[in-house]
Amino acid sequence: MKDTIDAILKKHIPKEKGNLIPVLQSVQKKEGYISPESVKRISNYFRISRSSIYGIATFYSQFRFNPPGRHSIKICLGTACHVQGGDFILKALQAEIGISPGETTDDMRFDLDRVACLGCCALAPVVMIDNKIHSRMSVIKLKELLNKYE
């Protein structure tokens, strides 16, 4: 991993801080996410503090900071889903798999993120797992659903 990042960094001039975003993009492409270790290396290379890099990176929705799990859960917290109890589903989900949005389970089974509206508000509340929409979620349905993913 060290080498991958160094290879990416080498292509950019350290003085040009504008290269930060392209570097982050390449790292994410190669590694699937931005790890604390990569941020450290990038920080040393560009002499931008880790907090700033993290601040900049979290500003863009394209970057993720946890390794992708085998299955990706996206829970909708848009207005419609919110009104229909999306928060409640999220809490149940968190209790079930033991992680918060932006995290990956230790066994790498799931990663979890929240999104704002998946465009099917009529079916609220909505959860998306690996690009498949599951509509009108309830806590009971959710438990059954999760069992299908290994």
Binding site: P36, V39, S49, R50, S51, Y54, G55, T58, F59, S61
Partner: protein
């Protein structure tokens, strides 16, 4: 129509307001004509006119942010409502700051800000009663969770609500449900109270250059944070506390004094922990330190301190283990006694130990006045010249070298660092030893100045260096010689020719090898020094606390001397304790009477005998080290120690040991008398810092009634011993006595002396043993010799693990540089 030319505000220039050369323009503010220099912002102009504009994100001396929009104004012929903090004035501008329109908009803005902030405390109908009766929280009701909020009164929201007469908030309050962080050393964080003004982020990045805080996440999830939500410490926080000082809410708050209440007094004094001697402001209530923080009248431009100045005073002065009464050791137990009893007992004993068997070891954290009286007591009354301070310098004469240097070279100013174009930092862990110097180095680096850092290991300063040199430990001197030689070869002239002679047999290639720095690197440093218009060399412990310290010193001064324009190069010697120089000039040095008058010179003995109306003993004095090593039947038998000194088996052999300290320490096991001592916030006096400036210490709190200063203790002893010349009533009496004998105005002969100091250009030289045993392991985190890491658990938390605060022996140790690297 009048078209204002708006200058785009680039880099904010702090000097603008003070710049007298720029042209003044006049504007009208609320009908009042105000003159201010070009480049002034509307906000600065209004402040100058004494007109108040509410602000939330504004901070003096840093680039305006324009984030909160509370400072909006109306400007004639300008559309919309520009923000005063970002808009520069232009000729004949007509500005209104308080139209009903503006006040309404401001109220709306504040309401929006408060929709994400627990506001019950602000608009509750019972607010006034609450002020009176609910003293445990700042004002928010307990149910809303605001019992996290401190009650120290540092809330600008409350001030704004009052000013804008906001009585009701139409939005429901959205609680952010962020877990408050209470595991950090020294301060708590509750971002539920954060209004995202960005002051902490900007101060951490743009004033302190610690680069710990940033806005993270986006949209309504934005909060202030660190990378991956790691702890402040892991993110490289230096616990300078600057972010707390500027936070307008209770989001960031010191643990100490959190529930003490609103301070009733704010006092300015001087920090004595290191020789920068920062000005500090201490807020107190009922004679207790609430915090060291901004003066309530000047919240947007607080004084900058480091972790020691910010967090130690309160913790140490009100430490639960502090000793507050005199004690005598009876049957191996400490018994509390009255001052009279302790003094009488001590006098009886001291009478038996007059002469060369007696010695005093003081502290360089103590004032000029205290240390002057201390050495006078030893010399005049006890007839002993064995006086010293607990010092980390293996060569006790380095301070004299520095003193002599000052008589020919004006001591550098801290601001010289930012004004220089090359800054060469050598052998220093400035971020730990002198954090405010470090701050200036970083500032210079950020402003594009060339910073060269040389040390045995990477330090946090390396992160800011354009050139980072690592030399081998113990080879500091060879490194300096190599630099001197390379530099000298680029210069011609008499001095340089003399010096070339000295280097005749110097095998430079071997030298490069030995110090582990390549010729290219050294050439590069030499070039930078030669080509810079103004340079500053900063010499730290690695150079000064070193067996070769005197030669290192000489090499550095020679580097300065041979430069084409030595006047434009300055050397800063990083003395550790706040009053190192001052203590020596006060005479607390075995070789020097006050004013650096050599004891070995008979004339000086006569002079000071006359001054003090006595006959002084002319036996050579022993240094602290020598005293401790000489504790024998016919050597040293009695010691008076102010503060603490490191344990040594010899100490058990003392016949009589008096310790005056704040705490019982290992040394106390051997002591017979213990006097409690005031801390620097409890007394007045002076210290002399590394710029050789006289700085005043003012009392902030009164000490408990049975705690006395060194001079009071000594005066009492002298009175009972019926010795004249110690009847001081107040420190001012001592100061005027010192002033009548020594010139404290420190005139410098401006002309730099042009001579080459002796060097020892010998590469073959075997590694030398330390000439003397080091009495104090160099620990920056001590006060009066007491280990702050032991006394303050939070200090241990941030510096523990092998103690990056301490470095010992030759060169600086392997102190880890915690932080961003």
């Amino acid at each position: 129509m009048n078209n204002y030319k708006l200058i785009k505000l680039g880099k904010f220039d702090e000097s603008v307001m003070n710049n007298k050369t720029t042209q003044n323009i006049s504007v009208k503010i609320d009908g009042k004509t105000v003159n201010a220099p070009v480049g002034t912002t509307v906000l600065q102009a209004t402040q100058k006119a004494g007109i108040y504009i509410p602000t939330l994100c504004y901070l003096e001396n840093i680039k305006p942010y324009g984030g909160c929009r509370l400072c909006i104004v109306e400007i004639k012929n300008m559309r919309g409502y520009p923000t005063a903090c970002t808009t520069p004035i232009a000729q004949d501008m007509e500005i209104s700051t308080k139209t009903p329109e503006l006040q309404k908009l401001r109220r709306d803005i504040l309401e929006l800000v408060l929709s994400e902030h627990p506001y019950t405390c602000l608009v509750c109908r019972d607010k006034n009663n609450c002020n009176e009766f609910m003293t445990t929280t700042r004002k928010v009701s307990v149910t809303t969770g605001c019992n996290f909020c401190t009650n120290n009164g540092n809330c600008e929201l409350q001030e704004l609500v009052e000013y804008l007469e906001l009585t009701e908030i139409k939005y429901p309050w959205a609680y952010k449900e962020i877990k408050p962080e209470k595991n950090n050393p020294f301060y708590d964080i509750d971002y539920n109270l954060c209004i995202l003004c960005g002051r902490c982020v900007r101060v951490c990045n743009e004033v302190r250059y610690s680069e710990v805080l940033n806005f993270v996440q986006r949209g309504n999830l934005v909060i202030v944070g660190t990378a991956f939500g790691e702890s402040q410490k892991d993110a490289g926080c230096e616990f300078c506390g600057a972010c707390i000082d500027v936070c307008p809410t209770g989001s960031l708050s010191e643990k100490m004094g959190k529930w003490v209440g609103i301070p009733d007094k704010s006092t300015e004094t001087t920090c004595v922990f290191c020789s920068v001697a920062c000005k500090m402001n201490i807020n107190t209530k009922d004679n207790r330190i609430v915090n060291v923080g901004p003066n309530p009248d000047n919240r947007t431009n607080p004084l900058q301190l480091c972790v020691r100045g910010k967090f130690v005073p309160g913790d140490i002065m009100h430490h639960p283990e502090r000793i507050t009464t005199p004690m005598l050791k009876k049957e191996n137990k400490w018994i509390e006694v009255s001052w009279d009893e302790a003094i009488n007992f001590t006098v009886n004993k001291l009478e038996q130990y007059r002469g060369n068997q007696f010695g005093i070891i003081g502290s360089a954290h103590e004032s000029l006045e205290n240390n002057y009286v201390l050495q006078k007591f030893s010399r005049k009354l006890m007839k002993s010249n064995n006086v010293d301070i607990l010092s980390s310098f293996p060569d006790k004469n380095i301070i004299k070298k520095i003193h002599d240097y000052y008589t020919h070279h004006k001591p550098a100013n801290i601001d010289d660092i930012t004004n220089a174009d090359t800054i060469f930092v050598i052998g220093s862990q400035t971020n730990l030893s002198h954090p405010i110097i470090e701050n200036r180095i970083r500032k210079a680096a950020k402003n594009g100045k060339k910073v060269i850092v040389a040390n045995t290991h990477d330090t946090r300063t390396s992160y800011f260096a354009e050139q980072n040199i690592l030399y081998k430990q113990g080879e500091e001197h060879i490194f300096l010689l190599s630099l001197l030689s390379v530099l000298n070869n680029k210069i011609s002239g008499k001095l340089s020719n003399d010096l070339k002679q000295e280097f005749k047999n110097f095998d430079i290639e071997k030298a490069f090898k030995r110090c582990g720095v390549s010729r290219q690197d050294i050439e590069k440093i030499a070039k930078s020094l030669l080509n810079s218009k103004k340079s500053v060399i900063i010499a730290g412990d690695g150079i000064l606390i070193n067996p070769d310290s005197i030669y290192n010193f000489n090499a550095l001064v020679n580097i300065q001397t041979i430069l084409k324009k030595p006047e434009t190069c300055k050397i800063i010697f990083l003395l550790n304790e706040g009053n190192f120089y001052g203590s020596t000039i006060a005479g607390l040095h075995s070789d020097f009477l006050p004013g650096f008058d050599e004891l070995a010179n008979k004339k000086n003995i006569k002079k000071w005998s006359d001054n003090w109306k006595t006959k002084l003993n002319n036996t050579k004095g022993l240094s602290g080290n020598e005293m401790v090593n000489n504790i024998t039947e016919d050597g040293i038998t009695a010691l008076f120690v102010v503060g603490d000194i490191p344990a040594h088996p010899n100490l058990a052999k003392l016949k009589f040991l008096v310790q005056q300290n704040m705490f019982l320490t290992e040394l106390s096991e051997h002591a017979h008398v213990f006097f409690p001592i005031t801390g620097f916030t409890e007394t007045n006096g002076h210290i002399i810092n590394l710029e050789r400036k006289l700085k005043e210490i003012t009392p902030v709190t009164a000490s408990a009634k049975d705690i006395k200063t060194v001079w009071e203790t000594i005066s009492n002893l002298a009175r009972v011993m019926q010795e004249k010349g110690f009847d001081y009533k107040k420190p001012e009496d001592i100061f005027s006595e010192i002033n009548s004998f020594i010139d404290l105005s420190f005139a410098t002969e401006e002309k730099a002396k042009k001579e080459i100091l002796p060097i020892r250009a010998d590469v073959s030289d075997k590694k030398k043993k330390l000439p003397v045993e080091i009495i104090a392991e160099n620990n920056y985190f001590n006060y009066l010799g007491n280990d702050l890491l032991k006394l303050i658990p939070d200090m241990e938390d941030i510096l523990g693990e092998g103690g990056s605060g301490s470095s010992s022996g030759s060169g600086s140790g392997s102190g880890s540089s915690s932080g961003i690297i």
